[in-house]
Protein backbone atom coordinates (compact mmCIF):
# COMPACT_ATOMS: atom_id res chain seq x y z
CA UNK A 1 0.00 0.00 0.00
CA UNK A 2 1.19 3.54 -0.62
CA UNK A 3 2.02 5.69 2.38
CA UNK A 4 0.94 9.23 1.51
CA UNK A 5 3.34 12.02 2.46
CA UNK A 6 4.08 15.62 1.58
CA UNK A 7 7.59 16.80 0.77
CA UNK A 8 8.55 20.40 0.05
CA UNK A 9 11.69 21.09 -1.95
CA UNK A 10 12.96 24.33 -0.40
CA UNK A 11 15.38 24.86 -3.31
CA UNK A 12 12.45 25.06 -5.71
CA UNK A 13 9.76 26.83 -3.69
CA UNK A 14 9.39 30.42 -4.89
CA UNK A 15 6.85 31.53 -2.25
CA UNK A 16 4.10 32.09 -4.81
CA UNK A 17 1.42 30.82 -2.38
CA UNK A 18 -0.23 29.02 -5.29
CA UNK A 19 -0.65 25.91 -3.12
CA UNK A 20 -2.40 27.93 -0.39
CA UNK A 21 -4.78 29.51 -2.87
CA UNK A 22 -5.49 26.29 -4.78
CA UNK A 23 -6.24 24.49 -1.49
CA UNK A 24 -8.54 27.22 -0.28
CA UNK A 25 -10.39 27.24 -3.59
CA UNK A 26 -10.71 23.48 -4.10
CA UNK A 27 -11.80 22.77 -0.52
CA UNK A 28 -13.79 25.97 0.00
CA UNK A 29 -11.92 26.49 3.26
CA UNK A 30 -13.88 28.85 5.54
CA UNK A 31 -13.02 32.51 5.85
CA UNK A 32 -10.01 33.18 8.06
CA UNK A 33 -8.66 29.64 7.86
CA UNK A 34 -5.83 28.25 5.76
CA UNK A 35 -5.01 24.57 5.56
CA UNK A 36 -1.62 25.29 4.06
CA UNK A 37 0.89 28.09 4.57
CA UNK A 38 4.23 29.09 3.07
CA UNK A 39 6.97 30.17 5.51
CA UNK A 40 10.00 32.07 4.28
CA UNK A 41 13.12 31.92 6.44
CA UNK A 42 15.73 34.69 6.26
CA UNK A 43 13.32 36.71 4.14
CA UNK A 44 15.07 39.34 2.04
CA UNK A 45 18.55 38.03 2.80
CA UNK A 46 20.85 36.08 0.47
CA UNK A 47 19.96 32.41 0.70
CA UNK A 48 16.36 32.91 1.82
CA UNK A 49 14.31 29.75 1.55
CA UNK A 50 10.58 29.07 1.54
CA UNK A 51 8.77 25.97 2.73
CA UNK A 52 5.12 25.10 2.21
CA UNK A 53 3.58 23.46 5.28
CA UNK A 54 0.29 21.68 5.86
CA UNK A 55 -0.68 18.66 7.91
CA UNK A 56 2.18 16.16 7.59
CA UNK A 57 -0.14 13.20 8.28
CA UNK A 58 2.21 11.92 10.98
CA UNK A 59 2.74 8.24 11.62
CA UNK A 60 2.16 8.58 15.37
CA UNK A 61 0.03 11.71 15.21
CA UNK A 62 0.23 13.84 18.40
CA UNK A 63 -3.17 15.42 17.63
CA UNK A 64 -4.78 11.99 17.68
CA UNK A 65 -2.97 11.11 20.91
CA UNK A 66 -4.28 14.10 22.90
CA UNK A 67 -7.80 14.40 21.41
CA UNK A 68 -10.32 14.05 24.30
CA UNK A 69 -13.01 12.61 22.02
CA UNK A 70 -10.67 10.39 19.94
CA UNK A 71 -11.99 11.94 16.72
CA UNK A 72 -8.88 11.26 14.60
CA UNK A 73 -8.28 8.21 12.45
CA UNK A 74 -5.65 7.16 9.92
CA UNK A 75 -6.77 5.90 6.52
CA UNK A 76 -5.31 2.87 4.78
CA UNK A 77 -3.17 5.32 2.76
CA UNK A 78 -1.62 6.73 5.96
CA UNK A 79 -3.69 9.94 5.79
CA UNK A 80 -4.71 11.40 9.17
CA UNK A 81 -8.35 12.54 9.09
CA UNK A 82 -10.79 13.63 11.78
CA UNK A 83 -14.52 13.43 12.39
CA UNK A 84 -15.92 16.94 12.80
CA UNK A 85 -19.10 15.53 14.30
CA UNK A 86 -17.06 14.35 17.28
CA UNK A 87 -14.82 17.45 17.55
CA UNK A 88 -15.66 19.72 20.50
CA UNK A 89 -13.24 22.54 19.61
CA UNK A 90 -11.07 22.22 22.70
CA UNK A 91 -7.87 23.09 20.81
CA UNK A 92 -5.68 20.39 22.39
CA UNK A 93 -4.63 19.12 18.93
CA UNK A 94 -3.32 22.60 18.17
CA UNK A 95 -1.18 22.54 21.34
CA UNK A 96 0.17 19.08 20.49
CA UNK A 97 0.87 19.62 16.77
CA UNK A 98 4.57 20.43 16.13
CA UNK A 99 3.66 22.06 12.80
CA UNK A 100 0.84 24.31 14.10
CA UNK A 101 -1.61 22.77 11.66
CA UNK A 102 -5.08 22.64 13.31
CA UNK A 103 -7.22 25.69 12.57
CA UNK A 104 -10.33 26.84 14.40
CA UNK A 105 -13.12 29.07 13.15
CA UNK A 106 -14.26 31.49 15.82
CA UNK A 107 -17.56 30.10 17.09
CA UNK A 108 -18.82 32.90 19.32
CA UNK A 109 -18.28 36.58 19.91
CA UNK A 110 -16.28 35.62 23.02
CA UNK A 111 -13.71 33.89 20.86
CA UNK A 112 -14.43 30.26 21.69
CA UNK A 113 -13.26 27.79 19.10
CA UNK A 114 -15.47 26.10 16.55
CA UNK A 115 -14.78 22.63 15.15
CA UNK A 116 -11.23 22.03 14.03
CA UNK A 117 -10.30 22.23 10.37
CA UNK A 118 -7.11 20.93 8.80
CA UNK A 119 -5.59 19.55 5.62
CA UNK A 120 -7.21 16.26 4.61
CA UNK A 121 -4.65 15.41 1.89
CA UNK A 122 -7.70 16.13 -0.31
CA UNK A 123 -9.21 12.92 1.05
CA UNK A 124 -12.44 14.34 2.51
CA UNK A 125 -13.67 12.87 5.76
CA UNK A 126 -15.66 10.04 7.30
CA UNK A 127 -18.82 10.87 5.32
CA UNK A 128 -19.75 9.10 2.08
CA UNK A 129 -17.06 9.69 -0.58
CA UNK A 130 -17.87 12.57 -2.90
CA UNK A 131 -21.13 13.47 -1.17
CA UNK A 132 -22.28 17.06 -0.78
CA UNK A 133 -22.26 16.54 3.00
CA UNK A 134 -18.60 15.49 2.91
CA UNK A 135 -17.67 18.47 0.74
CA UNK A 136 -19.44 20.92 3.04
CA UNK A 137 -17.59 19.62 6.12
CA UNK A 138 -14.19 18.59 4.78
CA UNK A 139 -13.81 19.86 1.22
CA UNK A 140 -12.80 17.92 -1.86
CA UNK A 141 -12.18 14.18 -1.92
CA UNK A 142 -9.68 13.90 -4.77
CA UNK A 143 -8.07 10.75 -3.39
CA UNK A 144 -11.33 8.81 -3.83
CA UNK A 145 -11.42 10.10 -7.41
CA UNK A 146 -7.88 8.82 -8.04
CA UNK A 147 -6.23 12.25 -7.95
CA UNK A 148 -3.49 13.72 -5.77
CA UNK A 149 -3.84 16.79 -3.49
CA UNK A 150 -4.55 19.96 -5.43
CA UNK A 151 -1.73 21.93 -3.77
CA UNK A 152 1.00 19.67 -5.14
CA UNK A 153 -0.76 19.29 -8.47
CA UNK A 154 -0.90 23.09 -8.79
CA UNK A 155 2.70 23.77 -7.76
CA UNK A 156 4.29 25.59 -10.71
CA UNK A 157 7.90 24.73 -9.84
CA UNK A 158 7.09 21.18 -8.69
CA UNK A 159 8.56 22.09 -5.31
CA UNK A 160 5.69 20.53 -3.41
CA UNK A 161 5.49 16.79 -3.87
CA UNK A 162 2.57 14.69 -2.65
CA UNK A 163 2.13 10.97 -2.96
CA UNK A 164 3.60 7.70 -1.81
CA UNK A 165 6.54 8.41 0.49
CA UNK A 166 8.93 6.02 -1.28
CA UNK A 167 8.10 7.44 -4.70
CA UNK A 168 8.42 11.14 -3.87
CA UNK A 169 11.47 10.30 -1.74
CA UNK A 170 13.18 8.80 -4.82
CA UNK A 171 12.31 11.85 -6.94
CA UNK A 172 13.65 14.19 -4.29
CA UNK A 173 16.80 12.14 -3.74
CA UNK A 174 17.59 12.31 -7.45
CA UNK A 175 17.13 16.08 -7.42
CA UNK A 176 19.31 16.53 -4.35
CA UNK A 177 22.07 14.39 -5.86
CA UNK A 178 22.04 16.38 -9.11
CA UNK A 179 22.37 19.53 -6.99
CA UNK A 180 25.28 17.96 -5.12
CA UNK A 181 23.74 18.32 -1.67
CA UNK A 182 22.15 16.28 1.06
CA UNK A 183 18.38 15.81 0.77
CA UNK A 184 16.60 17.86 3.44
CA UNK A 185 13.24 16.23 3.93
CA UNK A 186 11.50 19.05 5.77
CA UNK A 187 9.67 17.75 8.81
CA UNK A 188 9.91 14.08 7.90
CA UNK A 189 11.99 13.07 10.90
CA UNK A 190 9.40 14.64 13.23
CA UNK A 191 6.33 13.42 11.36
CA UNK A 192 7.35 9.95 10.27
CA UNK A 193 10.36 9.19 12.52
CA UNK A 194 12.50 8.65 9.44
CA UNK A 195 14.03 10.42 6.45
CA UNK A 196 14.09 9.17 2.86
Amino acid sequence: MPRMKFLCDADRCIECNGCVTACKNANEVPWGLNRRRVITLNDGQPGEKSISVACMHCTDAPCAAVCPTDCFYTTIDGIVLHDKDLCIGCGYCFFACPFGVPQFPQATAFGSRGRMDKCTFCAGGPKENGSAEEFAQYGANRIAAGKLPVCAETCATKALLAGDGDLIGEIFKERAMSRDERPHTWGWARAYGESI
Partner: protein, 353 residues
Protein backbone atom coordinates in the same frame (compact mmCIF):
# COMPACT_ATOMS: atom_id res chain seq x y z
CA UNK B 1 111.88 16.16 15.04
CA UNK B 2 110.12 15.92 11.69
CA UNK B 3 107.75 13.34 13.01
CA UNK B 4 106.97 15.63 15.94
CA UNK B 5 105.97 18.52 13.58
CA UNK B 6 103.88 16.14 11.50
CA UNK B 7 102.11 15.00 14.59
CA UNK B 8 101.34 18.62 15.55
CA UNK B 9 99.71 19.56 12.18
CA UNK B 10 97.55 16.44 12.30
CA UNK B 11 96.21 17.48 15.72
CA UNK B 12 95.41 21.00 14.40
CA UNK B 13 93.46 19.51 11.49
CA UNK B 14 91.49 17.32 13.81
CA UNK B 15 90.60 20.34 15.99
CA UNK B 16 89.55 22.29 12.90
CA UNK B 17 87.28 19.44 11.78
CA UNK B 18 85.76 19.35 15.24
CA UNK B 19 84.97 23.09 15.27
CA UNK B 20 83.55 23.03 11.75
CA UNK B 21 81.30 20.05 12.58
CA UNK B 22 80.04 21.87 15.66
CA UNK B 23 79.36 25.00 13.55
CA UNK B 24 77.41 23.01 10.94
CA UNK B 25 75.32 21.27 13.60
CA UNK B 26 74.45 24.54 15.37
CA UNK B 27 73.73 26.33 12.07
CA UNK B 28 71.50 23.48 10.91
CA UNK B 29 69.41 23.97 14.04
CA UNK B 30 69.37 27.75 14.16
CA UNK B 31 68.94 28.81 10.53
CA UNK B 32 65.53 27.15 10.04
CA UNK B 33 64.28 29.03 13.11
CA UNK B 34 64.61 32.28 11.21
CA UNK B 35 61.34 31.23 9.53
CA UNK B 36 59.59 32.43 12.66
CA UNK B 37 61.19 35.81 12.29
CA UNK B 38 60.00 35.96 8.69
CA UNK B 39 56.44 35.01 9.66
CA UNK B 40 56.41 37.50 12.53
CA UNK B 41 57.57 40.27 10.18
CA UNK B 42 55.14 39.20 7.44
CA UNK B 43 52.21 39.40 9.81
CA UNK B 44 52.89 43.02 10.57
CA UNK B 45 53.31 43.72 6.87
CA UNK B 46 49.93 44.93 5.48
CA UNK B 47 50.61 43.97 1.90
CA UNK B 48 51.25 40.37 2.89
CA UNK B 49 48.24 40.27 5.22
CA UNK B 50 45.91 41.50 2.48
CA UNK B 51 47.03 38.86 0.08
CA UNK B 52 45.54 36.18 2.36
CA UNK B 53 41.90 34.94 1.80
CA UNK B 54 39.42 37.58 3.03
CA UNK B 55 37.32 35.13 5.05
CA UNK B 56 37.48 31.51 6.07
CA UNK B 57 35.31 28.93 4.34
CA UNK B 58 32.01 28.32 6.22
CA UNK B 59 32.40 25.64 8.86
CA UNK B 60 28.78 24.47 8.48
CA UNK B 61 26.73 23.58 5.44
CA UNK B 62 24.42 26.54 4.63
CA UNK B 63 21.50 24.23 3.81
CA UNK B 64 22.03 22.43 7.12
CA UNK B 65 21.98 25.80 8.86
CA UNK B 66 18.63 26.56 7.26
CA UNK B 67 17.18 23.23 8.30
CA UNK B 68 18.47 23.84 11.82
CA UNK B 69 16.68 27.22 11.86
CA UNK B 70 13.42 25.61 10.76
CA UNK B 71 13.72 22.82 13.29
CA UNK B 72 14.53 25.24 16.12
CA UNK B 73 11.39 27.30 15.56
CA UNK B 74 13.02 30.36 14.03
CA UNK B 75 10.35 32.85 13.05
CA UNK B 76 9.98 33.42 9.35
CA UNK B 77 7.61 35.40 7.18
CA UNK B 78 4.23 34.10 6.04
CA UNK B 79 1.15 35.53 4.39
CA UNK B 80 -1.10 33.40 6.60
CA UNK B 81 -2.27 34.92 9.88
CA UNK B 82 -2.58 32.89 13.05
CA UNK B 83 -0.70 32.03 16.23
CA UNK B 84 2.65 30.50 15.33
CA UNK B 85 1.88 30.51 11.60
CA UNK B 86 5.33 31.91 10.79
CA UNK B 87 7.12 29.05 12.60
CA UNK B 88 7.76 25.75 10.84
CA UNK B 89 7.87 23.44 13.84
CA UNK B 90 8.09 23.63 17.64
CA UNK B 91 9.42 21.09 20.13
CA UNK B 92 7.16 22.11 23.03
CA UNK B 93 4.20 20.50 21.23
CA UNK B 94 5.76 17.06 21.60
CA UNK B 95 6.65 17.83 25.23
CA UNK B 96 3.01 18.78 25.88
CA UNK B 97 1.84 15.53 24.37
CA UNK B 98 4.34 13.44 26.34
CA UNK B 99 3.54 15.15 29.66
CA UNK B 100 -0.23 15.08 29.20
CA UNK B 101 -0.45 11.50 27.99
CA UNK B 102 2.34 10.34 30.32
CA UNK B 103 2.62 11.49 33.95
CA UNK B 104 -0.57 13.59 34.00
CA UNK B 105 -2.74 10.73 32.75
CA UNK B 106 -0.94 8.14 34.87
CA UNK B 107 -0.13 9.57 38.28
CA UNK B 108 -3.10 11.89 38.85
CA UNK B 109 -5.73 9.12 38.73
CA UNK B 110 -3.48 7.11 41.05
CA UNK B 111 -3.40 10.11 43.41
CA UNK B 112 -7.21 10.41 43.38
CA UNK B 113 -7.54 6.70 44.06
CA UNK B 114 -5.00 6.97 46.86
CA UNK B 115 -6.97 9.80 48.48
CA UNK B 116 -10.19 7.76 48.38
CA UNK B 117 -8.42 4.75 49.90
CA UNK B 118 -6.75 7.00 52.48
CA UNK B 119 -10.17 8.28 53.60
CA UNK B 120 -11.52 4.73 53.84
CA UNK B 121 -8.41 3.76 55.82
CA UNK B 122 -8.81 6.78 58.10
CA UNK B 123 -12.44 5.89 58.67
CA UNK B 124 -11.53 2.42 59.91
CA UNK B 125 -8.49 3.65 61.83
CA UNK B 126 -10.49 6.20 63.82
CA UNK B 127 -13.56 3.99 64.07
CA UNK B 128 -15.70 6.46 62.17
CA UNK B 129 -15.28 9.39 64.54
CA UNK B 130 -17.02 10.11 67.83
CA UNK B 131 -20.79 10.49 67.64
CA UNK B 132 -21.67 12.99 70.36
CA UNK B 133 -25.27 13.32 69.25
CA UNK B 134 -27.36 16.10 70.78
CA UNK B 135 -28.89 14.75 74.03
CA UNK B 136 -29.15 18.19 75.63
CA UNK B 137 -30.90 19.58 72.53
CA UNK B 138 -28.85 22.77 72.92
CA UNK B 139 -27.19 24.34 69.89
CA UNK B 140 -24.62 27.05 69.26
CA UNK B 141 -24.70 29.35 66.20
CA UNK B 142 -21.80 28.87 63.77
CA UNK B 143 -22.30 30.20 60.25
CA UNK B 144 -24.33 33.10 58.91
CA UNK B 145 -26.56 32.70 55.88
CA UNK B 146 -23.92 34.49 53.80
CA UNK B 147 -21.26 31.96 54.84
CA UNK B 148 -23.55 29.07 53.99
CA UNK B 149 -24.54 30.43 50.56
CA UNK B 150 -20.92 31.22 49.75
CA UNK B 151 -19.82 27.73 50.81
CA UNK B 152 -22.38 25.93 48.67
CA UNK B 153 -21.96 28.26 45.70
CA UNK B 154 -18.24 27.45 45.56
CA UNK B 155 -18.72 23.80 46.54
CA UNK B 156 -21.37 22.99 43.92
CA UNK B 157 -19.42 24.75 41.18
CA UNK B 158 -16.24 22.98 42.33
CA UNK B 159 -17.88 19.58 41.97
CA UNK B 160 -19.46 20.45 38.61
CA UNK B 161 -16.11 21.72 37.31
CA UNK B 162 -14.36 18.63 38.67
CA UNK B 163 -16.77 16.22 36.95
CA UNK B 164 -16.70 18.07 33.63
CA UNK B 165 -12.93 18.60 33.77
CA UNK B 166 -12.24 14.96 34.55
CA UNK B 167 -14.57 14.00 31.70
CA UNK B 168 -12.42 15.95 29.26
CA UNK B 169 -9.15 14.45 30.55
CA UNK B 170 -10.16 10.84 31.20
CA UNK B 171 -13.44 10.50 29.27
CA UNK B 172 -11.66 9.04 26.27
CA UNK B 173 -10.37 6.14 28.34
CA UNK B 174 -13.35 5.72 30.68
CA UNK B 175 -16.51 7.05 29.04
CA UNK B 176 -16.10 6.26 25.31
CA UNK B 177 -16.37 2.50 25.97
CA UNK B 178 -19.60 3.18 27.89
CA UNK B 179 -21.27 5.96 25.90
CA UNK B 180 -19.85 5.26 22.44
CA UNK B 181 -18.00 7.91 20.35
CA UNK B 182 -21.12 9.93 19.44
CA UNK B 183 -22.59 9.76 22.93
CA UNK B 184 -19.34 10.80 24.53
CA UNK B 185 -18.82 13.61 22.00
CA UNK B 186 -22.20 15.05 23.03
CA UNK B 187 -21.29 14.72 26.72
CA UNK B 188 -17.82 16.20 26.11
CA UNK B 189 -19.28 19.15 24.21
CA UNK B 190 -21.71 19.83 27.07
CA UNK B 191 -18.85 19.35 29.56
CA UNK B 192 -16.70 21.87 27.75
CA UNK B 193 -19.53 24.41 27.68
CA UNK B 194 -20.34 23.91 31.38
CA UNK B 195 -16.64 23.91 32.34
CA UNK B 196 -16.00 27.15 30.42
CA UNK B 197 -18.97 29.07 31.83
CA UNK B 198 -18.89 27.41 35.24
CA UNK B 199 -15.29 28.58 35.52
CA UNK B 200 -16.38 32.15 34.87
CA UNK B 201 -18.84 31.88 37.80
CA UNK B 202 -16.34 30.01 39.98
CA UNK B 203 -13.60 32.67 39.90
CA UNK B 204 -15.55 35.38 41.85
CA UNK B 205 -16.74 32.73 44.34
CA UNK B 206 -13.16 31.73 45.16
CA UNK B 207 -12.08 35.36 45.41
CA UNK B 208 -14.91 36.33 47.78
CA UNK B 209 -14.26 33.22 49.88
CA UNK B 210 -10.54 33.98 50.15
CA UNK B 211 -11.28 37.49 51.39
CA UNK B 212 -14.33 36.76 53.57
CA UNK B 213 -12.80 33.89 55.55
CA UNK B 214 -9.23 35.08 55.75
CA UNK B 215 -9.61 36.49 59.30
CA UNK B 216 -10.84 33.11 60.62
CA UNK B 217 -7.80 31.29 59.29
CA UNK B 218 -4.82 32.88 61.00
CA UNK B 219 -2.52 30.06 62.14
CA UNK B 220 -1.69 29.71 65.85
CA UNK B 221 0.29 27.36 68.11
CA UNK B 222 -2.97 25.61 68.97
CA UNK B 223 -3.25 24.60 65.29
CA UNK B 224 0.35 23.43 65.16
CA UNK B 225 -0.22 21.26 68.24
CA UNK B 226 -3.47 19.98 66.76
CA UNK B 227 -1.65 18.94 63.57
CA UNK B 228 1.48 17.53 65.22
CA UNK B 229 -0.27 15.40 67.83
CA UNK B 230 -2.74 13.72 65.52
CA UNK B 231 -5.84 15.90 65.57
CA UNK B 232 -6.59 14.64 62.09
CA UNK B 233 -6.43 11.01 63.24
CA UNK B 234 -9.28 10.90 65.70
CA UNK B 235 -7.66 12.56 68.72
CA UNK B 236 -9.73 15.31 70.29
CA UNK B 237 -7.22 18.07 70.87
CA UNK B 238 -7.97 21.71 71.76
CA UNK B 239 -9.08 23.72 68.74
CA UNK B 240 -10.62 27.13 68.16
CA UNK B 241 -13.33 28.00 65.67
CA UNK B 242 -11.30 26.16 62.99
CA UNK B 243 -8.67 23.49 63.53
CA UNK B 244 -5.25 23.23 61.87
CA UNK B 245 -6.51 20.92 59.15
CA UNK B 246 -9.27 23.31 58.19
CA UNK B 247 -6.82 26.21 58.04
CA UNK B 248 -4.61 24.19 55.72
CA UNK B 249 -7.66 23.42 53.58
CA UNK B 250 -8.41 27.16 53.41
CA UNK B 251 -4.81 27.83 52.36
CA UNK B 252 -5.04 25.10 49.70
CA UNK B 253 -8.24 26.71 48.40
CA UNK B 254 -6.64 30.12 48.12
CA UNK B 255 -3.37 28.98 46.51
CA UNK B 256 -4.81 26.32 44.21
CA UNK B 257 -7.70 28.67 43.47
CA UNK B 258 -5.35 31.39 42.27
CA UNK B 259 -3.35 29.01 40.05
CA UNK B 260 -6.37 27.20 38.62
CA UNK B 261 -8.36 30.41 38.05
CA UNK B 262 -5.49 32.29 36.39
CA UNK B 263 -4.60 29.41 34.04
CA UNK B 264 -8.29 28.71 33.42
CA UNK B 265 -9.17 32.26 32.43
CA UNK B 266 -6.11 32.32 30.18
CA UNK B 267 -7.23 29.13 28.44
CA UNK B 268 -10.71 30.61 27.95
CA UNK B 269 -9.37 33.39 25.75
CA UNK B 270 -7.45 31.77 22.88
CA UNK B 271 -7.86 34.81 20.69
CA UNK B 272 -6.32 37.20 23.22
CA UNK B 273 -3.35 35.15 24.46
CA UNK B 274 -2.08 33.89 21.12
CA UNK B 275 0.85 31.87 22.33
CA UNK B 276 1.06 28.11 22.01
CA UNK B 277 3.83 27.61 24.60
CA UNK B 278 1.80 29.57 27.17
CA UNK B 279 -1.27 27.43 26.47
CA UNK B 280 0.64 24.15 26.66
CA UNK B 281 2.12 25.04 30.04
CA UNK B 282 -1.19 26.49 31.33
CA UNK B 283 -3.16 23.42 30.37
CA UNK B 284 -0.76 21.08 32.18
CA UNK B 285 -0.60 23.29 35.30
CA UNK B 286 -4.40 23.70 35.27
CA UNK B 287 -4.99 19.95 35.15
CA UNK B 288 -2.32 19.02 37.71
CA UNK B 289 -3.22 21.66 40.33
CA UNK B 290 -6.97 21.15 39.89
CA UNK B 291 -6.70 17.38 40.39
CA UNK B 292 -4.42 17.79 43.43
CA UNK B 293 -7.00 20.25 44.78
CA UNK B 294 -9.78 17.73 44.14
CA UNK B 295 -7.83 15.02 45.95
CA UNK B 296 -7.40 17.24 49.03
CA UNK B 297 -11.11 18.09 48.86
CA UNK B 298 -11.89 14.40 49.45
CA UNK B 299 -10.33 14.81 52.90
CA UNK B 300 -12.46 17.93 53.53
CA UNK B 301 -15.66 16.22 52.38
CA UNK B 302 -14.99 13.15 54.52
CA UNK B 303 -14.10 15.15 57.64
CA UNK B 304 -17.12 17.44 57.30
CA UNK B 305 -19.63 14.62 56.88
CA UNK B 306 -19.10 11.10 58.20
CA UNK B 307 -15.64 11.76 59.65
CA UNK B 308 -17.05 14.05 62.36
CA UNK B 309 -20.81 13.37 62.58
CA UNK B 310 -22.83 16.50 63.15
CA UNK B 311 -20.44 18.86 61.33
CA UNK B 312 -22.57 19.17 58.23
CA UNK B 313 -25.20 21.09 60.26
CA UNK B 314 -22.86 24.09 60.20
CA UNK B 315 -23.10 24.45 56.40
CA UNK B 316 -26.80 23.53 56.20
CA UNK B 317 -28.51 24.85 59.35
CA UNK B 318 -25.83 27.36 60.37
CA UNK B 319 -25.77 26.05 63.96
CA UNK B 320 -24.32 22.96 65.55
CA UNK B 321 -25.00 20.85 68.65
CA UNK B 322 -23.33 22.03 71.84
CA UNK B 323 -21.97 18.53 72.36
CA UNK B 324 -20.26 18.67 68.96
CA UNK B 325 -18.72 22.06 69.77
CA UNK B 326 -17.48 20.88 73.17
CA UNK B 327 -15.92 17.76 71.64
CA UNK B 328 -14.33 19.21 68.50
CA UNK B 329 -13.94 22.93 69.24
CA UNK B 330 -13.52 23.29 73.03
CA UNK B 331 -11.81 26.70 72.84
CA UNK B 332 -14.44 28.09 70.49
CA UNK B 333 -17.25 26.68 72.64
CA UNK B 334 -15.92 28.62 75.63
CA UNK B 335 -16.10 31.81 73.55
CA UNK B 336 -19.69 31.41 72.40
CA UNK B 337 -21.45 29.37 75.02
CA UNK B 338 -23.41 32.45 76.13
CA UNK B 339 -25.12 32.33 72.69
CA UNK B 340 -26.32 28.77 73.28
CA UNK B 341 -30.01 28.24 72.53
CA UNK B 342 -32.56 25.42 72.55
CA UNK B 343 -34.69 25.13 69.38
CA UNK B 344 -37.08 22.70 71.13
CA UNK B 345 -37.87 25.45 73.64
CA UNK B 346 -38.82 27.67 70.73
CA UNK B 347 -35.63 29.68 70.72
CA UNK B 348 -34.07 30.73 67.43
CA UNK B 349 -30.38 31.36 66.84
CA UNK B 350 -29.41 34.73 68.27
CA UNK B 351 -28.56 37.40 65.73
CA UNK B 352 -24.89 37.62 65.20
CA UNK B 353 -23.29 40.63 66.78
Amino acid sequence: MQSKAKHKSARRRLRLIGWMTAFVVVAAMVIPLTGYVYVAMAQTDDSVAQSEPAQAAPTTNPSSDLWRQARQAQEGVTAVRGPGANVFMIDSAETFRQVRMGPVSTYLPIFLGFMVLAMVGLHFYTGGGAKPGNPSGKRVPAWTLFDRILHWYVAVLFLILAITGLSLLFGRAVLIPILGPEGFAAWARASKFVHDWGGVLFVPGVLVMAVAWLHHNKPSMVDVRWLLFGGAFGKHLPAGRYNGGQKIWFLVNVLAGIVVCVTGVLLLLPNIFENRELFQVSLIIHAVVAILWLGVSFAHIYMATIGAPGSVDITTKGHVSSEWAQLHRPLWYEEIKDQEFDPKAGASPPRKA
